[in-house]
C-alpha cells in the first residue's frame, strides 16, 4: 500500500468514527430493521396463499407428541435407550470378528513371522506385543459401536428430531447456566467424547461452548462401557441370584451413566457461577419440518466425517501407548520391572481411595484410550500376583472370556466389592482420554482450558472414590 493510500485510509476511518458518534447507538438495529422491512415487503409480493392453510397435520401431531410436557421425556428416553441398546448389542458381534481377526489371527502370525526372521525379541515385543496389539484392541472395540452409533445419531438429526430434544432439555441446561444445544453434544459424548467435543461447534457463545466442552467427559463414552459392564457383572451381578444378575448389573451401569448426566448439570452449574460467569444466551431454535432421512447419504457422511476422523485420532494415540505399556513392564530396574515399581509406589494412594496401584497405573498408561484399561489391568494383575497359566507374558495385553478364572485372578490381586464399585465410579470420573484432550486443545486453542478439562475430573474422581471408601469403611467397620 502506498503512503498516500495509507493517509487516505486513516482519513476514511476517522470520518467513519465521527459520523458514528453523530448517528448514535441504535445504528445496528436500524440496519437490521431496514433489511427485515425490505425482506417482508418482497416476500409479501412474491408469496401468495390461495385458499385455506393446507399445512399437513402429521408434522403438527408429531411435534405435539415429542415436545409434550408429559410424553416428551419418556419418548426421548425410550428412543435413546433403543439407540444405546442397538449400539451395545449390535457392536458385540462385529467387535468379536475384529478381535478374532486382529488379535487371534493376525497377531500370532505377526509374532511367529517376526521370530522366524530372527529379529531381536525386544524389537518385535515393542512393535507387535506393544504397539500393534494396543492399536488392534482400540480398533476392534471402538470401530463397531461408532459405526453404529454415529449413523443412527445422524439419521435422527436428518429426520429433524434433534432440535426437538434440544427444545425439551433447554430449560434444564438453562437452569445450570449452560446452552440448550448442549443436550446434543452430551448425547454425542455417549458415543465418543472426542466427537462430542467437536460437536460443541454448534454452540455459538464461547462461554457456553467451553462449559459444554469441560463437562462432555461426564457422558460415559463407549470406550468405557466395556469396563462398566465387565466390573458390574463380576462384582455387582454376583451379589444377587443368577437369574437377576444380568438385570441388576445392567441397572448398575445405567445408574453410573445417569450419575454422569447429573454431574454434567452440577459441574455446569458450578462453572457458570464461578469461573465462567455470564448471561445465558438466548437462541432461536428452529423446529424444521420432519423430512424422510436419506439413508445412504447419511451412512456415507457419518462414516467419513465422524467415525474415521475419531478412529484415526485414537489410533495415532494408541501406538505410542502400546509401546509405553510394553516398555514399563519389560524394562527391569534392580530386578523388577518399572511397572512393578510404579504399582508399589501407587498402592498406598490407590488403597486409600478404595482402588489399588494396578488400577491407577492402568489409568495412567491407558490415557490414550479408555478401551485398553481392562486388558492393561488384567496384564498388570498377572504381573504382580505372579499367576501362571493366563496371559502371554509380560507386557502383553489380553482379555479373558472365563468369568470364574477372571474373578479368581482379581481376588488374588486383592480386589473387593469396594474396589469394583470405585473402579466403576473412577471410570466415569477421571481425565478424558488423550484423543479427547488433544481434540479439546484443537477446539479451544487454549492450553489453560485444556489443562482444566484434563485435571478437574481427576480431582473430582479422587474426591468421590475417597468419600465412598470412607463411608464404606465406616459402615463395614
Amino acid at each position: 500500500m502506498s503512503a498516500s493510500n495509507a493517509t487516505q485510509v486513516e482519513e476514511i476511518l476517522s470520518t467513519a468514527r465521527n459520523l458514528r458518534s453523530e448517528l448514535g447507538t441504535d445504528l445496528h438495529e436500524q440496519l437490521v430493521e431496514a433489511v427485515f422491512a425490505t425482506a417482508a415487503r418482497i416476500a409479501d409480493r412474491a408469496v401468495t396463499r390461495p385458499g385455506e392453510k393446507a399445512r399437513p397435520t402429521l408434522d403438527r401431531t408429531l411435534d405435539r407428541l415429542v415436545t409434550s410436557r408429559i410424553w416428551g421425556f419418556p419418548l426421548m428416553f425410550l428412543l435413546f435407550a433403543v439407540m444405546f441398546w442397538l449400539t451395545i448389542s449390535g457392536a458385540n458381534v462385529p467387535s468379536g470378528w475384529l478381535a478374532w481377526l486382529l488379535v487371534d489371527t493376525i497377531y500370532p502370525v505377526l509374532r511367529e513371522g517376526a521370530a522366524g526372521l530372527g529379529l531381536p525379541w525386544w524389537l518385535w515385543g515393542l512393535a507387535i506385543d506393544g504397539m500393534y496389539l494396543a492399536t488392534a484392541w482400540v480398533v476392534s472395540v471402538m470401530l463397531p459401536p461408532m459405526a453404529i452409533f454415529f449413523p443412527l445419531f445422524t439419521l435422527l438429526e436428518d429426520f429433524g428430531y434433534l432440535p426437538r430434544v434440544a427444545f425439551n432439555l433447554d430449560w434444564l441446561f438453562k437452569k445450570a447456566g449452560a446452552h440448550g444445544k448442549q443436550a446434543m453434544t452430551t448425547m454425542m459424548g455417549f458415543g465418543c467424547n472426542a466427537a462430542g467435543v467437536i460437536a460443541t461447534r454448534i454452540i455459538d457463545s464461547p462461554r457456553e461452548r467451553l462449559i459444554a466442552i469441560l463437562t462432555n467427559n461426564f457422558a460415559l463414552c463407549n470406550g468405557r462401557w466395556p469396563t462398566q459392564i465387565l466390573i458390574a457383572t463380576l462384582f455387582i451381578g454376583s451379589l444377587v441370584p443368577a437369574y437377576l444378575g444380568g438385570m441388576v448389573s445392567a441397572l448398575a451401569v445405567v445408574g453410573v451413566a445417569v450419575l454422569g448426566v447429573v454431574l454434567t448439570f452440577v459441574i455446569a452449574w458450578a462453572l457458570s457461577r464461578t469461573v465462567l460467569r455470564g448471561q445465558v444466551s438466548t437462541f432461536s431454535l428452529e423446529l424444521p419440518p420432519y423430512r424422510p432421512p436419506r439413508i445412504l447419504q447419511t451412512l456415507y457422511t457419518s462414516i467419513i466425517d465422524r467415525t474415521i476422523l475419531v478412529l484415526w485420532r485414537a489410533v495415532v494415540w494408541a501406538l505410542p501407548a502400546g509401546a509405553l505399556i510394553w516398555l514399563t513392564s519389560n524394562i527391569p530396574i534392580g530386578g523388577r520391572s518399572i511397572a512393578e515399581h510404579l504399582i508399589t509406589l501407587f498402592n498406598p494412594l490407590g488403597l486409600f481411595v478404595g482402588l489399588n496401584g494396578v488400577i491407577l497405573l492402568a489409568y495412567i498408561l491407558a490415557i490414550p484410550a479408555n478401551e485398553i484399561v481392562i486388558p492393561t489391568v488384567l496384564m498388570l494383575t498377572v504381573l504382580v500376583t505372579g499367576t501362571t497359566g493366563v496371559g502371554q507374558g509380560a507386557g502383553v495385553m489380553f482379555d479373558l472370556q472365563d468369568t470364574n478364572q477372571l474373578i479368581g485372578l482379581l481376588h488374588a490381586g486383592g480386589w473387593t466389592l469396594l474396589t469394583g464399585v470405585n473402579l466403576m465410579l473412577f471410570s466415569l470420573i477421571h481425565n478424558p482420554c488423550s484423543t479427547t484432550i488433544y481434540t479439546i486443545y484443537k477446539e479451544t486453542g487454549s492450553a489453560k482450558w485444556t489443562t482444566v478439562a484434563a485435571l478437574m475430573p481427576v480431582a473430582l474422581g479422587f474426591a468421590v472414590t475417597f468419600l465412598v471408601a470412607l463411608v464404606w469403611r465406616m459402615i463395614a467397620g
Binding site: 487516505q8 445504528l27 433489511v35 425482506a39 412474491a46 408469496v47
Partner: protein, 280 residues
C-alpha cells in the same frame, strides 16, 4: 513473452474470473485446474447440503476453515466445458458476523470473492430467507438464488412467484426441489450465465434507511470508492465502518480490502501463472 502480450494479459487480469487467487489461497481454496469458484450460501435447513451433494456427487472434500473450528466442504462440477469449484459456506441466518459460522461465510464472500454466489432459499419461509439473500447482495453482485423446497411449498399450499423475486432482487432466481433433482439443470445454467458474464446482475440494495443515515453512508461511500477504485461493495463497507466493525477496520488498515480493488504487481505474476494453467 513479448511486452505487448504482457500488457494485454495484465489488462485482461482484472476481468479474468480468477484474478483473486491470492486471497482465495489465504482462505484455503486452491485454484489449480478450476475456471470458476462458486460459494454456496443459505439458511440452515434449506436443503443446502442436498444441493451441494447433488451438484458435486462424491467429488467432495471436507475440512476446516483456516484458523477456525467451523467445518466446511468443497467439491467440483463441470458444466458446458467449464470447471467449477463449489465451496459450501456454513448455514447462517445472517452475515452480521455474530458467530464463527457467520464470520466464516462473510469473510469468504468478502475476501474470497467467488465468481458466483449461489444462495439456497427455503420456498416455504421466503421472508426469513430473504434477510440473508439481501445481505449477500450487499457484499457481492454476482448472485444466483436457488428457490429450493418448491415441493414442500406446494404441499403447504403456497405459491411463490419466482418472476417477482427476479424483478425485486435483480438476480436469477431458479425454483427447484433438490431432493428430487428438479430444477438443478436450470441452476447450473444460471450459474454459468452469471460466471461467464452472459447475465449481468443488477442487485437490489437496501434503500429505506433514515435520511440522516443515508447522508452519512453516501459521504463515506464516496470517500471509500475514491480510495479503492473498483471495489464492488463500497456502500456495504461504509455501513460496516459506521457500525464500528473491527474486522473490516482491520481489513482496510492491512490493505486486505485494497487488494480487492486493484491488482498489485506481485499478484499479477501469480494470477498469470494460474491463468495460464487454467487456459492450458
Amino acid at each position: 513473452m513479448t511486452t505487448p502480450t504482457m500488457g494485454a494479459t495484465a489488462a485482461g487480469c482484472a476481468a479474468c474470473p480468477v484474478h483473486n487467487v491470492a486471497n482465495l489461497l489465504k482462505l484455503g481454496v486452491t485454484m489449480d485446474n478450476w475456471n470458476f469458484v462458486v460459494g454456496l450460501a443459505g439458511n440452515p435447513n434449506t436443503g443446502k447440503s442436498t444441493v451441494f451433494n447433488a451438484l458435486t456427487g462424491l467429488r467432495q472434500h471436507t475440512g476446516n476453515w483456516p484458523g477456525k473450528t467451523v467445518s466446511r466442504a468443497e467439491g467440483g462440477f463441470e458444466y458446458h466445458g467449464h470447471r467449477y469449484k463449489l465451496v459450501d459456506l456454513p448455514g447462517t441466518y445472517s452475515l452480521l458476523a455474530a458467530s464463527p459460522d457467520e464470520e466464516a461465510a462473510r469473510d469468504f464472500l468478502l475476501f474470497g470473492r467467488p465468481d458466483v454466489t449461489l444462495v439456497v432459499m427455503d420456498a416455504t419461509r421466503v421472508e426469513r430467507n430473504l434477510n440473508l439473500v439481501l445481505q449477500v447482495l450487499e457484499i457481492t453482485d454476482r448472485v444466483v438464488v436457488c428457490l429450493n423446497l418448491m415441493d414442500e411449498a406446494r404441499r403447504h399450499g403456497l405459491q411463490v412467484d419466482d418472476r417477482t423475486l427476479v424483478r425485486e432482487l435483480g438476480v436469477p432466481v431458479v425454483p427447484a426441489s433438490a431432493r428430487y433433482r428438479e430444477g438443478l439443470d436450470q441452476v447450473l445454467q444460471a450459474v454459468s450465465e452469471v460466471a461467464t458474464g452472459q447475465f449481468v446482475c443488477k442487485p437490489r440494495r437496501i434503500q429505506n434507511e433514515p435520511s440522516e443515515l443515508k447522508r452519512a453512508v453516501a459521504d463515506l461511500t464516496t470517500r471509500i470508492a475514491s480510495a479503492f477504485p473498483g471495489l464492488p461493495n463500497a456502500r456495504w463497507v461504509a455501513l460496516r465502518l459506521l457500525d464500528g466493525d473491527e474486522r473490516i477496520i482491520q481489513a482496510i488498515r492491512k490493505g486486505e480490502l485494497g487488494e480487492l480493488g486493484s491488482v498489485s504487481p506481485s499478484e499479477t505474476a501469480t494470477t498469470e501463472a494460474a491463468r495460464l494453467q487454467v487456459v492450458r
